[in-house]
C-alpha cells in the first residue's frame, strides 16, 4: 500500500485506495460501521423483550361478587394482561386510557353474578384503544381468552346442576373446538417477526445512501472520474475495486446483526444457511449498485444522497412486514417489487423461521440476482456514456 505509485493500474490498486480512504475519512468509516451498528443496536434494544406481557388494564367492578372477582383473576392470569387498578367510574377509566396509564378498561356490570345464574345474559364489556394497534390487539387477545374460560366454567356448572355428567357437559359446551397452530413463529415473538426484518431494512437505507456518497465523491468531477478509471486500468476493474471494500464491510455488519439474532435472540435457522448467505450477498450488491447508479446519474453528491434517502427511508412500509403486501394498492405493491429489501426479507423469512424446502427457496434469490445484473448493466452503460464525454487528454 505504501508503494501505490509503483503498482500496476488495476482492480487491486482501486481496492486498496478505497480502503485507505476509509481509514482516512472518518465520515466514511462512521457511515459504514458506526451508523449501521448503532442503529441496529438501538432497534435491538427497543424490541429486545420480544413479547409484550402483562399490559396494564383497569377494572370497573360494579358487582363485587365472587364471579366478578374470578373474572378479574382470570384476566390477570393471562400472560397478555394484568389488572393493575380499580376505578370507580367510566370517565375515570377513559381518562386513564387517554393518558396511557392503562391499556384497557374491563367493566363488570351490577348484579353480574345474579343475572348470569338467572339466565339474563349480562354483558361484560372491554374498552380498549385500537389507535395503538399492537397493544390494543394484545389486550383484546388476553381478555378474549380469559372471559370464555370463566364462562365455560359457568356453562358446565349450569349443566351439571341439571344433572348432566361433567365429562358430557365439557364436550357439550364446545361442539366445535378450534385448535389454532401458529406456523413458523409459535410464540408470536416480535424479535423473530419484526426485529429480524427491521435490521436489513435499516441496512438497505444505509447502503444505498452511503454508496451514493462514496461513488459520488469519485465521479463528481470529470477529472476525478478519469483518475478512477486510469487507476483501475479500465472501467470494470475500477468499478469493482471501488465497490468491493463496501460489500465486505456491509456484509460484515449484516453478519454481526445475524450473529446477535441467532446466538442471543434465538432466531431459528430452519432453512439452508448457504441460501441465506447468497441472498445476503446479492441483497447488499443490489443496494450498492442502486446507490452507485444514483451517484452516476445525479450531481452534485448531495442531490444523489437526497434522492437515495427519499427512495429508501420510507421503504420499510412497502416491504410488507407490518402491513402485508397482499393488502396494498397497485402502486405500493409495484414499488415493493423494485426494492431489494422486499426480496431479501422473503428469502430471509424463508430460511430462518419458515425452513422453506430448498426447491421453493430460489425465487427471491433469483429475482435479486436478476436485479443485480440489470443494475450492473445500467451502471456500465452509464459509465460508458460518461467516458465519451470525458476529454481525451484526461484519459
Amino acid at each position: 500500500m505504501q508503494r501505490r505509485d509503483r503498482q500496476q493500474p488495476g482492480f487491486p490498486l482501486v481496492f486498496w485506495r478505497e480502503l485507505a480512504w476509509l481509514r482516512r475519512r472518518p465520515l466514511l468509516l462512521m457511515l459504514t460501521v458506526v451508523v449501521p451498528l448503532g442503529l441496529m443496536l438501538l432497534l435491538t434494544a427497543i424490541l429486545s423483550a420480544g413479547i409484550a406481557t402483562r399490559l396494564p388494564i383497569a377494572v370497573l367492578d360494579l358487582d363485587g361478587s365472587e364471579l366478578s372477582r374470578s373474572v378479574i383473576r382470570a384476566v390477570d392470569a393471562t400472560p397478555d394482561t394484568a389488572t393493575v387498578l380499580h376505578v370507580a367510574e367510566l370517565s375515570e377509566g377513559r381518562h386513564l386510557i387517554v393518558a396511557r396509564k392503562i391499556r384497557g378498561l374491563l367493566m363488570l356490570p351490577r348484579n353480574l353474578e345474579r343475572d348470569v345464574f338467572a339466565g339474563r345474559r349480562p354483558e361484560v364489556v372491554l374498552f380498549y384503544n385500537t389507535q395503538t394497534f399492537t397493544v390494543g390487539n394484545l389486550v383484546l387477545r388476553g381478555v378474549n381468552s380469559a372471559i370464555p374460560t370463566v364462562a365455560a366454567g359457568i356453562r358446565i356448572s349450569l349443566r351439571t346442576a341439571e344433572g348432566q355428567p361433567v365429562e358430557e357437559a365439557q364436550a357439550a359446551i364446545t361442539p366445535i373446538p378450534l385448535q389454532t397452530h401458529a406456523l413458523f413463529n409459535s410464540t408470536l415473538n416480535y424479535v423473530h417477526f419484526l426485529l429480524a426484518a427491521l435490521l436489513p431494512a435499516v441496512l438497505q437505507t444505509v447502503v444505498v445512501t452511503t454508496m451514493a456518497y462514496a461513488v459520488g465523491i469519485d465521479v463528481e468531477t470529470r477529472h476525478r472520474f478519469a483518475i478512477l478509471r486510469r487507476l483501475g486500468g479500465g472501467l470494470l476493474p475500477a468499478m469493482f475495486g471501488k465497490m468491493l471494500p463496501y460489500t465486505i464491510l456491509f456484509l460484515s455488519m449484516l453478519g454481526i446483526a445475524d450473529f446477535v439474532l441467532f446466538k442471543y435472540l434465538e432466531l431459528p435457522l430452519r432453512g439452508d444457511p448457504a441460501v441465506l448467505v447468497i441472498a445476503g450477498i446479492v441483497f447488499v450488491l443490489a443496494c450498492q449498485f442502486i446507490g452507485a447508479l444514483l451517484a452516476l446519474l445525479l450531481r452534485p453528491v448531495a442531490a444523489a444522497v437526497s434522492i437515495a434517502t427519499l427512495l429508501t427511508a420510507p421503504a420499510f412500509g412497502f416491504m410488507g412486514i407490518g402491513f402485508p403486501r397482499l393488502g396494498m394498492n397497485a402502486f405500493a405493491y409495484g414499488y415493493g417489487e423494485l426494492l431489494p429489501g422486499t426480496w431479501y426479507l422473503i428469502a430471509r423469512i424463508d430460511q430462518t423461521i419458515r425452513g422453506t424446502p430448498l426447491d421453493l427457496s430460489w425465487k427471491p434469490v433469483l429475482v435479486l440476482t436478476g436485479l443485480v445484473a440489470v443494475l450492473i448493466s445500467l451502471t456500465a452503460i452509464r459509465v460508458r456514456i460518461m467516458r465519451r464525454s470525458v476529454p481525451e487528454r484526461a484519459a
Binding site: 465520515l27 442503529l39 364446545t174 417477526f193 444522497v305 393488502g327
Partner: protein, 393 residues
C-alpha cells in the same frame, strides 16, 4: 431586537435560496405526503387466502368452509386433498393458512360429541395470522353455538334458556378510537409527526452547515460578554422563529390537511393540535441547531440521518409499547421531540384529548425547547467569542 429581525429575515431567505434546504424542508415533505401513505391506503387486510382440507366431505363441513369464505377477513382460495400438499402451498406463499376439517366431523357433531377442527395459520406475518385466527375462531364459535342450542332445544329446553346456557356472559369488546382497526388510521398520524421531525431536523442541520451560516454581527466591534450573550440569544431566537414561521404551513398540512385527505377520523380541535405543534416545531428546530453544530458538514447530516427515522419511530413507544422497553432506551426516547409529540398529538387529534389531558407531553416539549435552545445559545456564544472581529465597513 434589530439583531433578532436580521437573523430571522436572513434565515428565511436562506431556506428559500439554498436548494438542498428547500428540497428537504418543502419538496421532501410534499413528496412524502403522497408517497409514504401508499401501502396503507386500503386500511384493512381483507380476504387472506387459505386452503381448506376437507376430509369429511359432508354438507356440514362444506357449510363450515362456506361460512369461513363468507367472512371479510379470509377467502378460501383452494380446496386441497391433504395437509402436506397444502403446506407446500403455504411455503410457496400462494396461501397463508390451512383449515383442516377431519373425517367424521359431521357425524361427531350430530352425535353430540366434541368435533374439533384445526387451523394452521402462517405466523410469519402477524397481521395475516391475526385475521385468519379471528375469522375462523368466530365462525367455529357461531356454528358450534348453533349446534349446542339446537341440541338443547331438541332436549326440550326453551330457546331463550338454551341461549343463556350456551352464552351466559357475553363478552363485548368496544374499541375506543379507530373502531374499524384501520391500519392507515393507526400508523399515519404517528408517521406524519415523524416525517415532520425528520425533514425539519435535516433541514435545520443543513442550514447550519452549508456556506452562509457564519456569525451575523450587529456592527459594533465591542466584545463584552453581556453583548455576546445577548447577541447569541437573539440569534437562536431569530432562527427558531424563522423555522416556526416556515414550518407553520407544512405542519398544518400534515396534521390537519393530510388526515382529512386520507379520511382519518379526527376528534380533537384544530386549535389544540396547532397549539401543541408549536413547542414540537421549536424543539425540533433547537435539536437541529445542536445537530448542525455537532456535524459541521451538510453531507454528514444528510447521511447520518437518512436511516434514523425507523429507529426513531419505534422509539416513540407507539408501535411497540414503551412499558416493555429497557429503562435506558426509554430515557433516551424522552430526549426526542417525536416521542412526546407522537403521544401528545395522537392523543389530541385521534383521541380528542384536551391540552390539560396531555399537559405532561406539552410541558415536556417546552422543557426540550428550553434545553436545546440553551445548548444552541451556548454553542453560539462560544462561536462568537472565538470568531475574528468583524472588519468594519
Amino acid at each position: 431586537m434589530k439583531m433578532f429581525l436580521t437573523v430571522f429575515r436572513n434565515e428565511i431567505g436562506r431556506i428559500f435560496s439554498l436548494r438542498p434546504v428547500f428540497s428537504v424542508v418543502v419538496l421532501a415533505a410534499a413528496v412524502y405526503a403522497l408517497f409514504y401513505p401508499q401501502p396503507y391506503l386500503n386500511e384493512a387486510l381483507r380476504r387472506v387466502p387459505i386452503a381448506v382440507v376437507d376430509q369429511d366431505r359432508t354438507q356440514t363441513s362444506r357449510e363450515l368452509a362456506r361460512l369461513v369464505d363468507a367472512t371479510s377477513d379470509v377467502a378460501v382460495a383452494r380446496v386441497l386433498p391433504d395437509v402436506p400438499t397444502a403446506e407446500r402451498e403455504v411455503y410457496d406463499r400462494s396461501i397463508f393458512g390451512i383449515l383442516l376439517i377431519p373425517q367424521h366431523f359431521e357425524r361427531d357433531l350430530l352425535h353430540g360429541r366434541s368435533s374439533p377442527i384445526a387451523l394452521y395459520a402462517d405466523a410469519s406475518y402477524f397481521l395475516m395470522y391475526q385475521r385468519m385466527n379471528g375469522a375462523v375462531t368466530a365462525v367455529s364459535r357461531t356454528l358450534g353455538t348453533n349446534f349446542e342450542i339446537a341440541r338443547l332445544v331438541g332436549l326440550g329446553v326453551d330457546p331463550p334458556v338454551a341461549a343463556a346456557v350456551t352464552d351466559p356472559m357475553p363478552f363485548i369488546p368496544v374499541p375506543l378510537f379507530n373502531p374499524q382497526g384501520g391500519y392507515a388510521t393507526y400508523i399515519l398520524p404517528a408517521a406524519f409527526v415523524l416525517i415532520l421531525q425528520q425533514t425539519l431536523l435535516i433541514g435545520v442541520g443543513l442550514l447550519g452547515t452549508l456556506p452562509g451560516a457564519q456569525v451575523i454581527w450587529t456592527g459594533t466591534a465591542r466584545r463584552r460578554v453581556s453583548d455576546l450573550a445577548f447577541e447569541s440569544i437573539a440569534t437562536v431566537a431569530g432562527k427558531l422563529l424563522a423555522y416556526l414561521a416556515i414550518h407553520a404551513l407544512i405542519v398544518a398540512t400534515y396534521l390537519i390537511g393530510l388526515p382529512y385527505l386520507y379520511g382519518i377520523p379526527r376528534l380533537g380541535s384544530v386549535a389544540t393540535i396547532l397549539a401543541f405543534a408549536v413547542p414540537f416545531t421549536l424543539a425540533v428546530g433547537g435539536l437541529g441547531l445542536v445537530v448542525a453544530a455537532t456535524f459541521r458538514n451538510p453531507l454528514a447530516v444528510q447521511l447520518v440521518f437518512a436511516a434514523i427515522g425507523l429507529p426513531f419511530f419505534f422509539l416513540a413507544g407507539f408501535a411497540w409499547p414503551a412499558e416493555v422497553m429497557p429503562a435506558p432506551v426509554r430515557l433516551l426516547s424522552q430526549l426526542l421531540p417525536s416521542t412526546l409529540a407522537i403521544d401528545g398529538l395522537v392523543d389530541v387529534a385521534q383521541l380528542g384529548a384536551s391540552l390539560s389531558d396531555v399537559h405532561r407531553e406539552f410541558l415536556g416539549l417546552w422543557l426540550l425547547v428550553a434545553v436545546y435552545a440553551c445548548i444552541a445559545v451556548i454553542i453560539e456564544f462560544i462561536r462568537r467569542r472565538r470568531a475574528p472581529l468583524p472588519v468594519p465597513g
